[in-house]
Symmetry: C2
Subunit: 409 residues, 2 copies
């Protein structure tokens, strides 16, 4: 008997019929002799319905109360799924985040899991129950309800898989795996049968919205094998694992990721003295605005230009902060640009292959695409370009790195 943790997203549980379908799927795993813990999201549309009511009342609803409100979405799903399983002869028991209990910090609407009590769950599994857990939620040390932020149900699933030492954590969604890039942009994009955590992390954070980034971090950290599969089609999906591919044919690049959700902010003419970067970014961080790419160029005149990207939703708030910082530091000017996109090539093969960067830049140059920012890590190279070039850049790079070829594994 192996233990599997499964997570079904909002579309997978979007109606009573879909919930009944999930119940039959889960029963199939029980019949094969597996213990199953199921993590569910709110029925699709429900979270937005709740947020809609909150926004009718307030433009900035109290975060504590927002969590009380939206955590009900998952609570409805766990109850309905437990009923559906019982109805088809499967013992089942539901748990809210607070009942498990899933301990989080107190950062309402974007809390982090600190610990999980697995006692109740283990007792229920032993007694032959399917255990159903509300994703996306927990409680802090004052017993306040918290939520983990959008996509947090993935994180709940992985954290439970880690705590319970599960064989595999399966993320059921409406796509059948992780692709070399978005098939809506490149028709020949191909499903990857395996990908490493590091690659997935870069793919997810760069905008391949299959999995929430925190869940991949978690899975990597605790070495939980993670599999992305379709709720609606049979198939092996994509396994995310620590093993690097061993085949001779291992591709240098696994995929092309992109992101249209960012905006760029630039401080021009900042006096080039130590500590400037911290002075710029600290007040941004204090407002809980996440900064992605950061580039600093030293200019000729003892000043420097400092550029970074944030989520588009945060750009106005960040801009306000920067205006203050600019006058404090004596910077010349603040510029913002929301019409950008980020395109990245990702692959563990890069480690042992030189020349990926130049191949990437040449491809873009050939297409006449100007690069505004560059940022690199061991396994990815990202560039910021004008958003109008997004599709062109992704298609050209997919071609250059031969990603349409059959997976060697």
């Amino acid at each position: 008997m192996t233990l599997i943790v499964q997570k079904y997203g909002g579309t997978s549980v979007g109606s009573v019929e879909h919930i009944q379908g999930v119940a039959r799927k889960v029963r199939g795993f029980r019949e094969k002799g597996h213990d199953v813990v199921v993590v569910v999201s709110a029925m699709s549309g429900e979270t937005n319905r709740l947020i809609g009511m909150a926004n009718e009342i307030s433009q900035r609803p109290v975060p504590r109360e927002m969590d009380v409100l939206i955590s009900t979405g998952e609570q409805v799903t766990i109850a309905l799924l437990a009923m559906a399983l019982t109805e088809i002869g499967c013992l089942a028991r539901s748990y809210t985040g607070g009942q498990v209990k899933i301990h989080t910090d107190s950062a309402h609407t974007k809390a982090r899991i600190e610990a999980i009590d697995s006692e109740n769950i283990c007792a229920d599994l032993k007694a032959g129950h399917v255990v159903i857990v509300a994703g996306f939620q927990g409680t802090d040390d004052q017993n306040n309800i918290t939520t983990l932020g959008r996509g947090g149900s993935d994180t709940t699933a992985v954290a439970l898989a880690a705590a319970l030492n599960a064989e595999e954590c399966q993320i059921y969604t409406d796509v059948d795996g992780v692709y070399t890039t978005d098939p809506r942009i490149v028709e020949s994009a191909r499903r990857l049968s395996k990908i490493t955590f590091e690659e997935m992390l870069e793919m997810a954070s760069l905008g391949s919205k299959v999995l929430q980034i925190r869940s991949v971090e978690f899975a990597g950290k605790y070495n939980v094998p993670l599999r992305v599969l379709s709720t609606f089609e049979e198939g092996p999906g994509t396994l995310i694992t620590t093993e690097e591919l061993e085949s001779m044919e291992q591709p240098v690049i696994s995929g092309i990721a992109f992101n249209r959700d960012e905006a760029k902010l630039t401080l021009l003419g900042v006096p080039d003295v130590p500590g400037v970067a911290a002075k710029i970014l600290a007040p941004v961080g204090e407002k809980n605005i996440e900064v992605d790419m950061i580039v600093q160029n030293v200019g000729a005149d003892q000043t420097t230009d400092f550029t970074f990207t944030v989520h588009r939703n945060d750009v106005d708030a960040a801009h306000e902060i920067l205006e203050v910082v600019a006058s404090q530091l004596g910077a010349r000017e603040v510029r913002k640009d929301a019409k950008i996109c980020k395109v990245s090539v990702v692959g563990v093969g890069m480690r042992s292959h030189a020349g990926v960067a130049s191949q990437m830049f040449e491809t873009l140059a050939t297409e006449g695409i100007n690069i505004q920012m560059i940022s690199t890590s061991e396994i990815k190279i990202s560039v910021v370009v004008d958003e109008k070039y997004l599709e062109l850049a992704v298609r050209a790079l997919h071609q250059t790195f031969d990603l349409a070829l059959e997976d060697a594994s």
Copy 2:
């Protein structure tokens, strides 16, 4: 500074606009210097929506999961009301039943409150917050979510008022008080300015659906002054109190209650030996079916006829049980009749006035209404008659006991 506990029902919080209206009402009480604890129901329609989904999945949904499901209704309301209060400058904090915490037994879907921890609430009140509590729910000693059954929010409010030693417990609803009888049946029905707990208990349990019976019991037991008022109109409502009216003009009868929700079951020809009543009713009670009126007549032939009433929803289940009991006891026949109604006259004045019963029976006889069952208590007399006579009986009795006269108080 006095502490008031207020309860707003589903219609009062039926939309975002209504919730905002409640927030303004509550702020008014804060501005007058009161501490306020608010108990809310689910938005009207929400509980039925949730039950509808459960019934799509199962004809008999698991009670534990039913409670997980329907308790979300009140949780949505507390969050929205807390946001609405904060938005208009009133500090507010919401609590689910489990967060308060409200301890109940484990009888899912009809749990009873056992204790209330008021520590958090007191601390919040002290800090100047309006405290908002989800009605109708609690948790048992295993931290399972429980609900108190329909109308349970009233009970939550009264229990909180008792635990917090509140000045008054105000139940806001869509009617402006308790009437001598249903104004839809008797046009001249009159709002009572005061009524005793005992009378209210008889009125509520007999079908004047203003307040949940358990909440009145609770209020009487802990001597919590209870006031029924309209959310939508100004007015003093009806105060439910331990004081009996002292006026010379005190009416003998306070009101005429009625109930169409019952059905009658009769066991004919039961051998008349000690212990028979218990043998009949024990298996009915075991199935959690509540029995209301019970009448037993000894017949001529060493056998007895045993009749009782249950809620119409339970009549088929009770009938099944009786068929088994009948064959065990050697009874002749089981009969059921759902086409009945119960009409009652209620009043503490009865205690000191003889002749109320005969006045009642004479009135019914004059109208040609046959009485099927009679049951009496110190302050009420109930009869079961054919349901077609309901309006006629209520109107005639309202007239006989002069209830349309001006309230003397």
